[in-house]
Symmetry: C2
Subunit: 341 residues, 2 copies
């Protein structure tokens, strides 16, 4: 297995944010220049929004929420607006969040009316006795907590609707978003638009969050890894914060996020190696995807075993770095957070 | 924190089954002799049923299912018939199962019409492309797979209904089953009737399964640890099979089952120590409960940091061992599996 790209470094800056927007067959030849620019712009906005929180002394949790909300609100990603349709023509959203200092966590699965599911996950964490709420109950809880409720049609996009019709026609499960409408073997050419963020704040606290619409044409109330603490999301100040994206079932079976954290905590191995070990386990079971990992010293990794992963990072220097393709080992945009926020 | 009881041993017998029926304030003074006998009998039946599968050369998965079905069918445990009521007066059942050789897994959450949720979890594992299904979708899937469907009233018991009325009256969450109707501080005196099993078959394969009704008076589609792979259930031939019971939210946050397995796999520490480390983490976050753990050599542990845990084990000698209280370090019944099956 080839683990493609990416970066880690000891960073003496006290704050750090890393985001992903899904991993898959993301290659330069498959993205139009316009789409590439659009993804770059939203990833930069997400990083800038989270960085503003950290820069102002805010918590890593609030930075993770700020970063993810930008991607949920963008139709480009399979989270919030622009999420994929289930077999029944519904959009069911999952999200989870975890705080590294207390290991408090919150999660929602299959919600349909909450504009920003990551905020609902945060409300579960901070305002309920529970960790994981699902379905109508979770929607009702979010409404009681005063979160913004929208009509399910808010999430709809024509592109995702067409994807569903195509998937139904092809009578099979299609994962997340394909930017190329007429791929010969779309199941081999899948992209996933799950979004996630990990952050380190000035107080030395880590946080992680993940948000998704799951897989196109999903049936039977399928739950993927994103709302599962340990699989899609995990954070512990004593090890790392992790957000995952990929073939959800296999990320659940390998307990991908905690698996990575456990290697760091119990074996003290570098975070790149830990992430790659987890991705190797995932590949051995037939899965693929990516992981973003951040420790309390500011070391970070953005690893994937797919053709590409929408990703980016920003530290205390405020320089926005965005990448998509395997070759973008350190694609640095010229944006500066102070200019763009 | 006092970790109370229990046993582990290297066992040269090629088969082993360990079951639990929940951990909590289970003391001799709180159980009538009749109830104690009833629990002993059902635990012995569960062990005998699973042992029969293993003895005949069956798989650890089939043994786990056979053992759990007996407890699901008994009104004594908070799983299947006799499960607790949600705030809405419904019974919503969760279950999960995992196979150690392939690390295949299946899980259902908040199902309401499947007589034996552990069979539904197995169907998800073996007959779907998914790992976790929830709600009506999961019920529909089980029906399509030909599993036994029952009217929701099948699960009802007067005792659990009374528990709900009491919990609603007291306007707070009450966990699982109290055998003492008038405990002054029931929230401090909680019992949990989640059931689980771990098995090792003649082929050296491990399996784990867990089934529950969650907590009395639960709201908002609360999901506990039992259907979460990594938290309530985990199995890997290279480490251990684990089934957990306790304060579900904290078992999710500590990723209890995989946490225990990771210590064994990455640090090669004895399974008792691994289980105790996990229970200490859980206690540090304010939780309690128990874990059953089994490795591919037949070493097993039944650990808990509550007053008691319904539990038992059987190996190739066919001797049924059942315990409930902390003092029952090795309560051995006189039943022999060959006599009782």
């Amino acid at each position: 297995m080839t683990i493609q790209t990416n970066t880690t470094r000891a960073d003496d800056s006290p704050i750090r944010l890393v985001v992903h927007g899904g991993a898959g067959t993301i290659t330069r030849s498959k993205l139009t220049k316009e789409l590439e620019q659009a993804y770059t712009q939203v990833l930069a906005q997400s990083l800038t929004a989270g960085h503003a929180v950290l820069e102002a002394g805010g918590s890593s949790i609030d930075a993770v929420i700020a970063a993810i909300v930008v991607m949920e609100d963008s139709p480009l990603f399979n989270a919030g607006k622009g999420a994929v349709f289930s077999n029944a023509g519904r959009i069911e959203l999952d999200a989870s969040i975890m705080e590294g200092s207390t290991r408090m966590a919150g999660s929602v699965a299959a919600v349909t009316t909450i504009r920003n599911p990551i905020r609902a996950a945060n409300a579960v964490m901070t305002k309920s006795a529970h960790v994981m709420l699902m379905g109508q109950g979770a929607d009702a809880f979010a409404a009681e907590m005063g979160l913004e409720i929208v009509d399910p049609s808010y999430f709809y996009t024509q592109f995702r609707w067409n994807q569903l019709q195509k998937a139904i026609a092809e009578e099979r499960l299609m994962q997340d978003h394909d930017v190329v409408p007429d791929t010969p073997q779309p199941q081999m050419d899948k992209k996933r638009g799950t979004v996630g963020a990990v952050a380190l704040d000035r107080h030395g606290n880590l946080a992680a969050g993940t948000s998704t619409g799951g897989v196109t044409n999903k049936r039977f109330g399928r739950v993927g890894d994103s709302p599962v603490i340990g699989a899609g999301t995990y954070a512990d100040n004593h090890s790392v914060a992790v957000s995952a994206t990929g073939t959800g079932e296999i990320f659940i079976r390998t307990v991908a996020a905690f698996n990575t954290a456990a290697q760091v905590r119990l074996q003290h191995i570098p975070i790149i190696e830990a992430a790659d070990n987890t991705l190797a386990e995932i590949a051995a079971l037939g899965g693929d995807g990516g992981l973003i990992v951040l420790d309390a010293k500011g070391n970070y990794a953005m690893r994937f075993n797919t053709r590409g992963m929408y990703r980016g990072t920003i530290g205390s220097d405020g320089i926005v770095q965005v990448g998509m393709f395997a070759a973008d080992d350190r694609a640095v945009s010229t944006s500066n957070s102070h200019d763009t926020r």
